[in-house]
Amino acid sequence: MSLLNSLKKRLTNQFLSIIVYEEQCNIKQKIIKNSKMIHKEEFNLDIKSQDELGGKVINFINDLQSQYDNTYIALFLNTLGQGLIPGCNVDDLQKFNIDKDGVKTICKDGRFLMYATHIDIKWADNLFVKTGLDFIFSPFLVLDYFIKKEMKKDSFNKEIRVLYLLNSKNSLTLMIEQNDKVLYGTFFSKIKDDNLLHTDYEDEIVNTQELDELDLDNIDELGMEDMLNAASQNDNLTTLLEDDYILSEEDEKIIKYINSSLKEFYSNELYDSDFVCTLKIFDNVGLKEGVVKYIENELLLNCTVDSVNISDALLDLSIKEALDIDV
């Protein structure tokens, strides 16, 4: 087996990272030969809907695949039916109202347990049925990848409790960590609930047909309802938003999600909560400075932003999974 692996490392391997947005599909290609990168390219293709890649994208991916014998395709899972719980005990899922038979779980280093519903995994499989798919990576894994990189920096102090945020074009992933221990984690999709800021969240979410289609019988399973309720009750926020900073709807959403997450973290007894004063944003979109300033002033968080590339992280993760090497 090890002989086979070392042989595989010597061959040319193509890695594709795919992130599916609503109207666009981001594909990044990385060619590895002999454990060295020989080519890297990024493509953005238009798609009609997030639920169907369309012939153009399928052909494009298959064309790329046909160029090399070994192609690994990694998908960034950005659907709502997923989450994270601290610790690695599968039975703990019950405490968070999650049906453990309905989800697939992955334990990361004994620090946290990522889960995704079988429905979401099936959805991803179906989406790539004509091209094939090798890896489905949780956004938590990607965020953890960036956190791990951060930890290697000399300036890193693991004593400090930090809220980490991975900002993607259509999703937000949050994790609170201290002393190499994950205390909290949640995932938001920026699209599924467009009117989150301006409507009654509870009604909106329960009635959303899209969610019904996903067969998320009980939104409580994801621990979302309480969070969103908490957010909606925060009347102060809306007034604050209108103050000094001109924020786009997108930015407002981010702030809203951070706020509701923190509220959830503080209020839910299941979490080992204490005050969080530091926010580290891994940004894949390009956050405006105003947002950072707003967070620092209004949410009273010490905020730093690192520009990152999720595609690169996906590629690194899939290379690590497939060949067990760091390129």
Binding site: D69, A124, L133, A322
Partner: protein, 169 residues
């Protein structure tokens, strides 16, 4: 493994190479099999050849013995033919001889071998012998001698005729 999905099988050999390998291995197996078959057959042949050689030797030996027996049989046949012939000759000559003997002559003893005829008998007169028996004897044999002796008791001549026959070579 931190992915929600297992990666697809990544065979080291692609389908074309696999097909090619399968084809080559089938061809190789075929060639080897045929070679083995041929080797078996040839070793079979050599053992058969050995067997046939032994048979040949046996047959050659039997041919030799047969030839020998043929020769002996031929000899015997020749001898028997000769005997037969001589018997026939004898019979004929006896017949002839007896037909030659006239009434005046009585034969008392006849001694005959291949080339010689000895006749003893009685004749009333020497002339009877000389006229009636001698000429045919002389015509048959190359040499014919006769001795007469008168037997007063019988009033006849006892004669002994010795005739030789010499074959012309």
């Amino acid at each position: 493994m931190y992915s929600y999905k297992q990666p697809r099988e990544k065979p080291i050999f692609d389908t074309f190479t696999k097909m090619w390998l399968i084809f080559v291995s089938i061809a190789l197996i075929g060639v080897l099999g045929y070679g083995f078959y041929l080797y078996n057959r040839s070793s079979n042949f050599s053992s058969k050849i050995e067997l046939k050689n032994r048979e040949l030797n046996k047959l050659q030996k039997s041919i030799l013995s047969l030839k020998k027996s043929i020769k002996s049989i031929q000899k015997r046949r020749y001898i028997s033919d000769k005997i037969d012939h001589s018997n026939l000759l004898l019979k004929n000559s006896m017949k002839n001889l007896f037909s030659l003997v006239p009434d005046q002559i009585v034969l008392s003893k006849l001694d005959m071998d291949e080339n010689r005829l000895k006749i003893e008998g009685f004749t009333l007169t020497k002339n009877a012998y000389k006229l009636l028996l001698e000429p045919p004897l002389k015509s048959i044999f190359t040499q014919s001698k006769v001795i007469f002796k008168y037997d007063p008791y019988k009033g006849k001549y006892k004669f002994v005729s010795i005739n030789h026959y010499k074959e012309d070579k």
